[in-house]
């Protein structure tokens, strides 16, 4: 029974495919977007429970901008945003924190850890900068 909605946002088709396989274990209705604009459109239409959000994407809106927009929208107050990005510098993490992200994970990370973060959804609003673990 697909009881929850999860939106995967990444411009790389391989990464989307990987996340689709890893998270397709029968709990989540999965949605995908390959850029910021499309991500926001899906978010508004579907009100996902979780968004896995890449940062560097083509187009005007990067992942931080998408996260800000989601967090400012009262209709999406229940959405848990996981930044999932190869941008691992402290400045990038701070930008993610400032945009209101709930978790900050640096690629490459283990899928097991990612699933744990998605399932537990701990400490919303205060992302922990997590390298592979």
């Amino acid at each position: 029974m697909l009881t929850q909605k999860l939106l995967i946002v990444d411009d790389q088709p391989e990464i989307r495919k990987m996340l689709r396989i890893a998270l397709g274990y029968g709990k989540y209705q999965l949605y995908e977007a390959d850029n910021g604009d499309a991500a926001l459109a899906v978010a508004h239409a579907e009100k996902p429970d979780v968004i896995l959000l890449d940062v560097s994407m083509p187009g005007i809106l990067d992942g931080f901008a998408v996260c800000r927009a989601v967090k400012q929208d009262p209709n999406l107050s229940g959405t848990f945003v996981v930044m999932l990005t190869a941008r691992g510098s402290l400045e990038d993490y701070r930008a993610g924190d400032a945009s209101g992200a709930d978790a900050y994970m640096i690629k490459p990370c283990t899928l097991a850890k990612l699933i744990e973060v998605v399932e537990k959804r701990e400490n919303p609003g205060s992302p922990v900068r997590a390298y592979t673990s």
């Binding site: 411009d11 790389q12 391989e14 990464i15 990987m18 396989i21 890893a22």
Partner: protein, 386 residues
């Protein structure tokens, strides 16, 4: 009194001490002013002395220029006034007010300099970075010498290095994320044979990409560090080289019919043949990659005069997806990808390598492009006979 010649910009602590000794001596004895003024006015480092009472006694012209202050504003003024003016010139946030005064008045062993210099990011001259060191006199620790060194260039090099590293890390992590994730999936789950093959193919493709990034990173850092010193520059006949590159690349002539239009009398260029080969491979590789629907590729060449010197210009034209003006302007930047979708393999370093190599060979690169119409890359190279 020791006469100190014009200080080199990287004068060390020993020199600071010598200068300080000189200056404090001349303060104490009140003579040698002319010599002192001559030395200090020629000095390439900024120097300022504070009397034991803590007022500004002297500042050399370099100090005034670096800090954008005038002698009228600071000479005879107490240290806190000087520090407030310096903090105004340097970008010091209000939360760190008093930083310079604290630094200058801090405890310093007699005759020594502060262990760690302070870096000031100046508002004017714009973006300059100044390193401030404080030294105290051997005889009277209350009298101080402020020593300024312009480290703008070093700071910029440091910034570029760390930017390069973080870019490189980002580029390496992207294919690693796929390899790491897909292997984890294969280890954790059962897949049918077809799916397993598909996942392994993705891993293989991403690994190839990773290898390409590593090779190009090494190429560009080697080019950067040797600045062409390891180039074996020799006369290179262009026509056979182009033929050689084309046969090595094995471009599918059905999809990308390559037309070579090089005059047989094209002069021999001065170049490193292996580097020039790489330049041609990168340019032709892009012509193929960015013409996903296929299309003709033309290689033409001609000679022209630039500043009275004969140059060979080689032009590669494709009918591919092309680029916008903004993309053209950035295409030779390291790690810049016009297509960030991940659909086109690449590292964002190919054209950066082209530009670096061609310029080190004494040539230039010109790119003209329009979206949906295609791209023309022209490289100009010096010839053997001028």
């Amino acid at each position: 009194m020791k006469i100190i010649s014009i200080l080199p910009p990287h004068a060390g602590q020993a020199v600071i001490q010598d200068v300080m000794e000189d200056i404090t001596q001349s303060i104490d004895f009140g003579d040698h002013h002319e010599q002192r003024n001559l030395i200090c006015s020629q000095c390439l480092v900024g120097l300022l002395t504070l009397t034991p009472a803590g007022t500004v006694f002297y500042a050399n012209p370099t100090f005034l220029k670096m800090t954008n202050l005038s002698s009228k504003e600071i000479i005879g003024k107490p240290a806190n006034v000087l520090c407030a003016l310096l903090e105004e010139q340097a970008e010091i946030s209000t939360s760190r007010k008093g930083l310079i005064e604290e630094f200058i008045s801090g405890n310093i062993v007699a005759g020594a300099a502060s262990a760690r210099p302070l870096h000031l990011f100046m508002k004017s001259p714009l973006n300059s970075v100044i390193e401030l060191t404080v030294a105290s006199s051997a005889t009277n620790t209350e009298s101080r010498l402020l020593y300024l060194r312009d480290v703008t260039h070093e700071a910029e090099v440091d910034r570029m290095k760390s930017e390069f590293l973080s870019h490189a890390a980002h580029e390496l992590r992207t294919p690693m994320a796929s390899i790491y994730g897909f292997t984890e999936l294969l280890l954790a789950q059962e897949f049918d044979a077809e799916m397993r093959k598909d996942l392994l193919q993705t891993i293989h493709k991403q690994t190839a990409w990773l290898i390409e990034i590593i090779n190009e990173l090494l190429d560009i850092s080697r080019i950067e560090s040797r600045r062409g010193k390891d180039f074996k520059v020799e006369p290179v006949p262009v026509v056979p080289l182009v033929a050689d590159v084309l046969s090595a690349m094995q471009i599918d002539n059905q999809r990308w019919p390559v037309k070579v239009d090089l005059p047989v009398e094209l002069p021999t260029v001065r170049a490193d043949v292996s580097k020039l080969r790489q330049v041609l491979i990168n340019i032709l590789g892009n012509a193929v990659k960015y013409s996903p629907d296929g299309g003709p590729i033309t290689i033409s060449g001609t000679t022209c005069k630039l500043d009275d010197k004969t140059q060979v210009s080689l032009t590669v034209t494709d009918r591919g997806i092309g680029m916008t003006e903004e993309q053209v302007a950035r295409v030779c930047e390291r790690f810049y990808r016009a297509d960030t979708s991940g659909n086109t393999p690449g590292t964002g370093l190919g054209m950066a390598i082209v530009k670096e190599v061609v310029e080190l060979l004494g040539g230039s690169v010109d790119i003209a492009s329009a979206p949906q119409l295609g791209t023309t890359v022209t490289i100009m190279l010096p010839t053997v006979t001028p």
